[in-house]
Symmetry: C2
Subunit: 305 residues, 2 copies
């Protein structure tokens, strides 16, 4: 049962919601009503949890709200889709107050506006627990169709859209999801398979290879390493960070060698860097500068219940 | 970044996902891909929080999962829609373990199966915080169109689909969302306005009246009071419980007097009880058995940040 402040917040959100032509009913009824265009729809959801995905005392509520929208936009980008509408569920700590909640929403709304996304519904609650934000995004496939993880073929070239590693130093809160780049690439070339890098290059590449039933070899000297990865002060080298750090939110994709050659000189506004090749031999390897080939493990930290 | 147990759980969920014909891509890619039929789509989302919407030590994980699906189905019912697909985000307390998470999912899946809903995506996480479940449901309007809150007219009769009050004694975990009843009613009569009773009759009736720009009078002797409302042992009478308790998840709707008369003798499998009348005079009143007319306040508990 919403309390007075929750109702005031919902009213405030409702007044700020953008008008979009195919939205028949927005915030304020039991459901939003949306007229689809006929294209296949894309659905994705992500939950952000205080202390896991962000720390309230190390950032601003705007950036937390922005991230909740951005990680979902990144999933739409990974299918080369067009984002349309969002629903946002929030469990707000009572102690943070009304202004905090508004700033959180402003962060979401600003990124939604930038990508033409209408916030069409939500569920706003207060409690004594930590902040949790759950956003669901609805998008549609473009004329070229959705790009799956499963279409990589032996001989394909592997690309990423930007430098990797060290995202925890700030990029994970400020990245721009590669929605526009994905659509542009999908018009230029036939994207065989694509995934967004949320778990880290090694882990996400394994996901893509598993779904495609193939393997790959990366080239050490081709992996783009971010400045942040170089600036990490732990005892792991920057290649390790580029391979295993999560939340880069760049795209990893596979295209035929001939399409890959088209991307090398120019990719319009999108950056695409070739990092390796798809092979029929299962597993993932990396060819080091000294020509030695090493196994690339799935990576990522693992813990147990 | 998902850990080993999260990945095992996602695999387990993926294997149990029902096949539905218009789902092109289900769990296991960046987004689900769904081919819409062309009907207007309905979107709704609800967040359930441990200690607010349920208590883990007073119920089973199956019933918690079931409730997460049921409250969303109830929103689809409130538009007289047809539920299609769900996405589920979960923040699981690590200490609850793998079996708890499976049982939670089983509760969701069983109700989803009962209503022909495909669980097409989600985000499964573990943390040290309390249990949070966020579900988003996608449905479609039937041929009769979506029923809004805003169409009630002076002279309409107000109905509810079942007895009210005392839901906290168990009904809030075990109720069957009125999806089938809503569709049946919508075929029988022209539903002018409808809402599901989540905040309590008084509060939700005020929502419906506000959106429709009208008022109403209820009849005390017509309000159906649940056995549970009579069994509450606090110092509030059972009418107070029926008016102000939340989470009945019955439907409240308005139809013309002539349509209302059709519903009185029989409503097929659906129960519809006339509780009052819509009037042009704003606000909400109740005519007591002794003919005295009292104001019905918005009700519900209110607290502050």
């Amino acid at each position: 049962m919403p309390d007075r402040n929750e109702l005031a917040l919902i009213d405030w959100i409702r007044q700020r919601a953008a008008f979009v032509s195919n939205l028949q009913v927005g915030i304020g009824d039991d459901c939003a009503v949306w007229q689809p265009s006929g294209s296949p729809l894309l659905f994705t959801t992500d939950v952000l949890m205080e202390g896991v995905d962000f720390r309230v005392d190390e950032t601003t509520p705007q950036l937390i709200g922005r991230k909740a929208m951005a990680v979902n936009l990144s999933d739409i980008a990974a299918m080369a889709g067009r984002p349309l509408a969002a629903l946002v569920g929030v469990a707000l700590p009572k102690l943070r107050g009304f202004d905090f909640a508004k700033q959180l929403h402003e962060g979401m709304q600003s990124l939604a506006d930038e990508f033409g996304v209408a916030i069409v519904g939500g569920d706003t609650n207060t409690w004594d627990g930590p902040l949790v934000i759950s956003a669901t995004l609805i998008g549609e496939a473009t004329e070229q169709g959705p790009v799956r993880r499963s279409g990589a073929k032996p001989g394909d070239w592997l690309f990423v859209t930007g430098p990797l590693g060290g995202s925890i130093l700030g990029h994970h809160l400020t990245f721009t999801p590669r929605v526009r780049e994905a659509q542009e690439l999908h018009r230029l070339v036939d994207l065989h398979a694509m995934i967004d890098l949320s778990d880290g290059l090694a882990a996400d590449l394994h996901h893509l290879l598993d779904e495609s039933g193939v393997g790959a070899t990366l080239f050490e000297d081709a992996i783009p390493i971010s400045k942040a990865a170089g600036g990490m002060t732990d005892n792991r080298n920057s290649l390790d960070h580029a391979l295993n750090d999560g939340e880069d939110f760049e795209l990893l994709f596979a295209v035929s060698a001939s399409d890959g050659a088209k991307l090398l000189p120019t990719t319009g506004n999108a950056t695409a860097m070739r990092i390796g090749e798809v092979e029929s031999h299962p597993g993932c390897r990396i060819q080091m500068r000294d020509r030695i080939v090493r196994e690339v493990k799935r990576g990522g930290w693992e813990h147990s219940f």
